[in-house]
Amino acid sequence: MKYLIYIIAVIILLGLNLGIFKSLQVYGQIPNLLFLFMLFFALEKQDYDFFFVAAVCGIFLDFYSAGFFGAYTLAFLTVGLCAHLFANNLLVLEINWKSLSLVLLASLIMFNLILWFFQFLAFKLGWSGQFAGIKVFSSEFPANFIYDWLLLYPVYLCFTFVRGFVQNLNVRRRGVVR
């Protein structure tokens, strides 16, 4: 049941991303709400739901993108795993807004690098007819990061709402009366 709720949340976020932010571009960039959503899941300690969310978000974006299939899914899974390992093994205290901004910066860099590398590999193997050069990613990165950074808190609210909803659902299913 919780996975169905995750899928619905991803669909709603993707719909908002396409419906609202596609016409509110900043220097030609739109935010990646799914990436932020997955990142918050990945930063949860001792929780592996982020793999499902990353896979679903990646598959959705792979279908919507014009690049070779699998690039976004691989990037989401890898960045999610890395963020999860960081949160579990390196982060001593709870994450705050300063460290979250740095995590977002590092994860976006890794995300773009994996995307570029996958598309480059697909191009070299003849699976894809074109790929965007690294300069394209680097020129778009600053606007992309700032736009994502500005939407961190709204997506965090969405994430806490979904987590709370799923936890309440689990509690009620177990029959615990509050």
Partner: protein, 266 residues
């Protein structure tokens, strides 16, 4: 090494295997039905979000455009002023063109030796009914020569300098020249009248004179050739008891807006 034995790595490896399977299915084209479902799923939410965001977007877009609209407005105003000025110049050129055509239409058919001149200004030195022309002695213009426009006598040169000359109009009070009535060949005198245009005077009482008859130059003055149209009799001013017959003449020439004239050279 310990990481590969963790649950996280196991799930990650499982996801990678699933991804590889999906990539193979995509290459085979088996993912197309699923692809359609994935693409259609967020559409209702996207449509709803778009319809909700459109008014906000239009509002901010309008505000953002305001400065551009204001700048464009200023630029267009300046352009309109420039075009209006160009239009005034063009209207002036059109009038000059028409005046030249009218003059050239006469000049083409005449055998007179003409010097074409442009009117520089009127009322020089405080004189009324006089014109300054842009041709002078170097163009063959001399004092006493007739000034004509569209075949009608408009005045005579009273002063000729090297590069410019002054012409006295036939409507000037101190203008006079010999004339004759075209229909009867009766001799007469044409003089200007302050505020009254052109007067035909000194026609004998025995000579017939009627409205509508043409009056031309007599050619007695050597510098003003004969048979140059002066005007048409519009009104008989004298009575049978007067010594001579007098009449008012009208000319089709607009003396207030002359731009180009010809001087009849010797």
């Amino acid at each position: 090494m310990r990481f590969i034995y963790t649950k996280a790595f196991a799930i990650f490896a499982g996801c990678l295997a699933l991804l590889a399977l999906l990539v193979i299915m995509q290459l085979k084209g088996w993912l197309d039905p699923i692809r359609i479902a994935f693409l259609d799923a967020p559409r209702p939410v996207a449509a709803l979000a778009n319809s909700a965001a459109s008014p906000v977007k239009n509002f901010f877009s309008t505000i953002y455009q305001l400065k551009k609209i204001s700048d464009e407005n200023g630029r267009l105003r300046a352009e309109v002023k420039q075009l209006e000025q160009a239009l005034v110049g063009q209207d002036q050129q059109t009038r000059e063109n028409q005046a030249l055509r009218d003059e050239l239409g006469f000049a083409k058919n005449t055998q007179l030796n003409l010097a074409s001149c442009a009117v520089l200004s009127d009322n020089p030195f405080g004189q009324t009914d006089a014109l300054v022309l842009n041709c002078g002695t170097k163009d063959g213009v001399g004092e006493g020569q007739a000034v004509i426009s569209q075949g009608y006598l408009v005045g005579k040169i009273i002063y000729a300098g090297p590069g410019s000359s002054t012409a006295l109009l036939i409507t000037a009070a101190d203008f006079s020249t010999d004339a004759r009535v075209s229909q009867t060949d009766a001799a007469a005198l044409v003089k200007g009248s302050f505020g009254s245009g052109v007067i035909l005077d000194q026609v004998k009482q025995t000579d017939d004179l009627q409205k509508g008859w043409l009056v031309v130059s007599a050619g007695i003055n050597a510098k003003i050739p004969k048979n140059i149209l002066i005007g048409q009799v519009s009104d008989i001013l004298s009575s049978d008891n007067d010594l001579f017959k007098r009449a008012a003449l009208i000319s089709p020439i607009d003396f207030d807006n002359l731009q180009f004239v010809f001087v009849v050279k010797d």
